[in-house]
Symmetry: C2
Subunit: 151 residues, 2 copies
Amino acid sequence: MTFDAIDVKIMNALQRDAGQSLETLGADVGLSRNACWRRVKALEESGAITSRVALVDAKAVGLGLMVFMQVRTHSHDPGWQDKFNRATRVIPGILSVYRMTGDLDYLIRARVPDMDGYDALYQQLIEQVPIADVSASFVMEEIKDSTALPL
Amino acid sequence: MTFDAIDVKIMNALQRDAGQSLETLGADVGLSRNACWRRVKALEESGAITSRVALVDAKAVGLGLMVFMQVRTHSHDPGWQDKFNRATRVIPGILSVYRMTGDLDYLIRARVPDMDGYDALYQQLIEQVPIADVSASFVMEEIKDSTALPL
DNA sequence: GGTGAAATCCCTCATCG
DNA sequence: CGATGAGGGATTTCACC
């Protein structure tokens, strides 16, 4: 799919604030409220805009510690990957799981209340799936963290 | 700040879908639309809900490659840190920058169109700030990636 | 893409449990 | 705190040009 300059403006504006009215949005991108509405709907239906969500402040809800877990496995068990995927998808606190370049190397991003919370999450994980090697790095400072893609 | 079960339900619902009406939301959490509206407003004003944003599909806009850059530096002078922070904040494509514990100093999460795009981003970064050591890991598969915190 | 009109929703207030 | 009802105003949505 291809997007023109106005589509890009719309997506940029909505990535910043999805709560604004079509009036405001239309004025920003130089379109009438209605033409703008049709564009937004098209972007949603084409899947370019996947959803509108509320962002919650992690510290405010007691999830002040962010941790990256680097998982290495040398298991070539065919069912291992499925089990790992299922386990990580279900465990609360695990926000992202990526399979990385390199030999079966996974990166997990999680949010927990504190170190005890991390330990609980770690125990929960290795209980459900055997993992050869896990190393954890904790986030001391979030210099930048955005959901908005550069368009 | 403390949240009761209904606040948690509201935040969970809005983390999934921030576009739903107060009618729907109220029904979901077992509250009238009006009582629900007051809760939502309080959550927004307290900062627990920071914003409502649209999520854009990275592949749909040609940013199909996600990369993590592990940055190590041996210069810990304050001027370098400021320069690094400013550079990463400005460069488009860099979505997250974290200062970490342990042997790696900074972790950068970025989205780029392809390998050429990564190289361009890398060049842009080291042009603005001297970096001793960078290693990049590319995401082959996104098993999970959520903006919703577990409440 | 624009215009206008209908349906819906948001926000506020006031009152009562 | 929450429910209900009601009002004005804004917004979404759908006709048609």
